[in-house]
Amino acid sequence: MADLRTSIGKLELANPVMTASGTFGYGTEFADFVDLDRLGGVIVKGTTLHHREGNPYPRMAETPSGMLNAVGLQNKGVEYFCEQIYPTIKDYKTNMIVNVSGSAIEDYVATAERINALEAIPAIELNISCPNVKQGGMAFGVTAKGAAEVVSAVRKVYDKTLIVKLSPNVTDITEIARAAESAGADSVSLINTLLGMAIDAERRCPILSTVTGGMSGPAVKPIALRMVWQVAKAVQIPVVGLGGITNATDAIEFLLAGASAIEVGTANFMDPAVTGKIVDGINDYLDRHGFASVRDIIGALEI
């Protein structure tokens, strides 16, 4: 049995396997399939300051080895999370991490501040890929300036582990990663979904109500892996890798590319028990290759 412990800054994880926001609910939806306490962390649904209804149905389109979603951050708002959800998840031993979203800096700040007060939430993942209403719909995460602004504003009110989730829909993701690092992020996670589109040729109309949506699943893995490798070289802070991970080998590839931990998203839909299997598979790999600790393979890519 290898030592699977890893860390994201001061946040200690029992192993590198976490779940990706928006794909695992609040964790409890999967409790019949995986022992949540065996996971390094559970990143819960995107939470915003106010209640959001999300986008109209249809919100999902399947694509070869992938899917597009346009859920649009449906959630009941941070107050509801604190009052109704938090009591049901706070006693899990795993790291329960909240994914924080917003469309204005003030909203991100207010949401992060509210969650800072929750004892059993040791970290937030700041999703800077949603459109910034004030800047005319452009995401904070697509410019270094926007990213730096929102991260430094949140950093002022949030004193636990701050992970910043990066959008892949940019020219140079390392530039955004460095901006987040300079603004005080403890870690960056990547990638969020890639902007895509699906058309129903028979009906000559888009499949998603929003026309475009975010792509995820095995098809995006090579892109995610490349970006994680680039960012891991560009920043000093730990990197969390995700995008298309469906098994332990995929997870190990991200660790080798420089990720200190990984997240599993869309794969939970194919096999709701996959996260537990990935934990076991990483352990088997380490034993098989004679590594005492998972830390030995983080960034160990030989070029």
């Binding site: 928006g22 609910g25 019949d32 149905y57 399947e62 839909f269 709701p272 028990a273």
Partner: protein
Amino acid sequence: MKKYILDLTIRQTVAIGKQCVLLRLTADEQLPEMFPGQFVEVRVDHTPSVMLRRPISIHYYNKETNELGLLVQLVGDGTRWMATLKEGDMLNLVLPLGNGFTLPEDPSVRPLLIGGGVGVAPLLYLGMKLKEMGITPTFLLGSRTENELMQVQEFEKVGPVYITTENGAVGEQGYVTQHSVLTREQFSQVYTCGPKPMMVAVARWAKAADVPCEVSLENKMACGVGACLCCVEDTKEGNVCVCKEGPVFSIEKLSWQI
């Protein structure tokens, strides 16, 4: 209800007409309790075009023979693959999912079960459960032509069956909502599953006739367990997950224009 991921064995794959198959599944262990209107998520593992599981209703579950039946209409790669399964093949399922139909508390209730196309699937199990409870279900099955009618003999074992076909080849000609049984007899509960336009028409009729009505929706799903929010239906309480809060809804809850 606890959910399971199980590998089931195919006992038999039976062709039903040209477009459907009945998968008869079993397992070494006793299968968990399942209720009418609940569904399973089928893993289809052979082609990149099908990554997500496919939701399929529970057509019947027989505790004594430990057999689960799925009635599958072949519409795309996933369902066509299911039809190629042979005796002894394994199928990976997540089950049981969703809420299921509300079973009546009053034994004197007169339920009408209206199905269209492959939407008849969950109504067989519902009818069987009602019969077990001492309630006789009446079935009203609709299809375009005689070729799409499915499992009529199975339904006849459970209760009286009325049929409409659009071409008039079997039963009365027209849509289910035009069948004379609706005016001849009094029903106190309606359950329906089928194409959306049919369910909307049934809901409209039930509302006008002041009969409580439950519909089973077939929104596209990704996770099937209420985690991803892809399958939502617009209701009077906002967007709710069909896979978890449904697939069965009282028409009172939906924001359909009826």
